[in-house]
Every structure is written in structure tokens, then in C-alpha cells.
């Protein structure tokens, strides 16, 4: 029984790790995107 639980736990952990890594990367990119958009807007308004 222990091997069965271990195998499924590992598969879940690997899947969860992939989803978590994608979530964290997405959150960081969204934050970068927000900051960069603001910087572009600021640059455009200072040019005017």
C-alpha cells in the first residue's frame, strides 16, 4: 500500500510543482508588464 501511495503522491507533487511554477512565473510577468506599461505611459507623456 505504501508504494501505491508513494507513486501517486510523487505524480501529484510533480504535477503540482509544474502548475505552481507556471503560476509564479505568470504572476511575476504580469507584475513586470504592469510596471513596464506604466513606464511606457510616463515616457510618452513626458515626450509630449
Amino acid at each position: 500500500m505504501g508504494y501505491l501511495i508513494a507513486a501517486y503522491a510523487v505524480l501529484w507533487a510533480i504535477s503540482f510543482g509544474l502548475v505552481l511554477s507556471m503560476h509564479l512565473r505568470q504572476r511575476r510577468l504580469q507584475l513586470d508588464l504592469r510596471v513596464l506599461r506604466q513606464l511606457v505611459e510616463d515616457a510618452a507623456s513626458s515626450d509630449e
Partner: protein
């Protein structure tokens, strides 16, 4: 809610529900295998997720192969993104195959690992695709990176048919679930088996959707950085 948000939500919820149902079938719904030992019968239930995980790995590498070939022909970024997304998902799933297979091997064979053809080829295949991801990380120029990765992805795909036929070509210790004499599973086991295959395929599509979206976000960030420079 926008239509664009609806599809990923639907995909995520439906694939998660199918995976949970698959888990129930694998652990309780499917009948026991015709094995003498209790440990063997329990360990055999690993195959439902183990084979479905391997299937997703092979499918993902096939998509990397196709997307790479189409990229070489069209030079369109979307195919490079699809190849990368699929290779990353496939590599993670192959890791799952190696680890779950090793855990199954302990009660079934009495060892965690043997250097037989199927297991060795699976490990080499995993390392080949780790190499694919490392190659992408080591080339700065995006066009060169995409071209190198596409060629690598096409060539690396050779490992998939070799891995698939390994248990048919050589007499390996790895069991052959579907051979020329028919399947080694009873009809109820077959149902759980194919249910898990479908659930994992949908899970792969869901992961692809999210991973491609992530890469498009990265492109937007790079584009804005360039505008600022």
C-alpha cells in the same frame, strides 16, 4: 467574464474533475489484477497513472516535433512557443514516468532500478529533453534559439518511437501491457485505463494553454522593454 477567460477555466475545471475521477477508478473502481500477492495487486494499480503519464510525455514530444518542423518552414514565433511549451510539459511528465515506474519496480521486481533497455532509453529520452530546455536557455538571439531548438526537437523525437518499440524489440523486464496477443487488462481495467488516458490528454491540453499564454506574456514584456530602450 470574457470569452477568453471562459475556455481556460472550463478546460481547467473539466480536466481536474476527470483526473479526480480517474484517480478513483485507478485506486478503487478498477478490479484487482490477477496476481497472487497483495502487494503486487496494489502496486499494479500504479499503471493507470504511470502509462497515462508516459502517453502525455510521448504526445508532448510529438507536438514539439511537429511544431519544430512547422517553425523551420514558416519561421513563425507561435510554433516556437508551442514547441517550447510542449517540451517543458513532456519533460516534467517523463520525470513522473521515471519516478512512478521506479516505485512500481520495487515491489514488483524487488529493486528500484534495473539498466534494461526500456528503462535506460526512458532515462536517456528524459535527459535529451532536459538538453533541449538547456539549449534554449543558452542561446541569446531569439531567432537562432528558435531555429536550433526546432532542429533539436525534430531530431530528439527519434527517441519516442525507439522507446515505444523497446519492449517489443528486446526482451526487457518491463511488462508489455498491449502486445500482439491482445491486452493484458480485463474489460473493466481497460475502461479505467482509457479513462485515465483521456483525462491526462485533456490535462495536457489545459497545461499547454496556460504555458503558451505564459510565453506570450513574456513576449509582451520583452517588447515593452525594447520600446523603453
Amino acid at each position: 467574464m470574457k470569452k477568453n477567460d471562459c475556455l481556460p477555466l472550463l478546460l481547467t475545471v473539466s480536466s481536474s474533475l476527470l483526473i479526480l475521477l480517474g484517480l478513483y477508478l485507478a485506486l478503487a473502481g478498477a478490479p484487482d489484477a490477477n496476481l497472487k500477492s497483495e502487494t503486487g495487486r496494489l502496486a499494479q494499480r500504479i499503471i493507470y497513472f504511470h502509462i497515462a503519464t508516459a502517453w502525455v510525455g510521448f504526445l508532448a514530444f510529438f507536438v514539439t516535433f511537429v511544431a519544430g518542423a512547422v517553425y523551420l518552414r514558416t519561421q513563425r514565433r507561435q510554433w516556437d512557443i508551442a514547441a517550447l511549451a510542449s517540451a517543458e510539459i513532456g519533460t516534467v511528465f517523463m520525470l513522473g514516468v521515471l519516478v512512478s515506474g521506479s516505485i512500481w519496480a520495487r515491489p514488483a521486481w524487488g529493486v528500484w532500478w534495473v539498466w534494461d533497455e526500456r528503462l535506460t532509453i526512458s532515462l536517456v529520452q528524459f535527459l535529451i529533453y532536459v538538453g533541449y530546455l538547456m539549449l534554449r536557455g543558452s542561446v541569446e538571439d531569439p531567432a537562432r534559439r528558435a531555429r536550433f531548438a526546432a532542429v533539436y526537437g525534430v531530431v530528439a523525437f527519434v527517441s519516442v518511437p525507439v522507446n515505444f518499440v523497446a519492449i517489443r524489440l528486446w526482451r526487457t523486464q518491463h511488462p508489455l501491457v498491449f502486445g500482439v496477443d491482445g491486452g493484458g487488462l480485463s474489460p473493466n481495467m481497460m475502461f479505467a485505463f482509457f479513462f485515465c488516458l483521456i483525462a491526462f490528454s485533456l490535462w495536457y491540453v489545459t497545461l499547454m494553454w496556460h504555458r503558451i499564454r505564459l510565453e506570450r506574456l513574456r513576449d509582451q514584456v520583452d517588447e515593452l522593454k525594447l520600446r523603453l530602450v
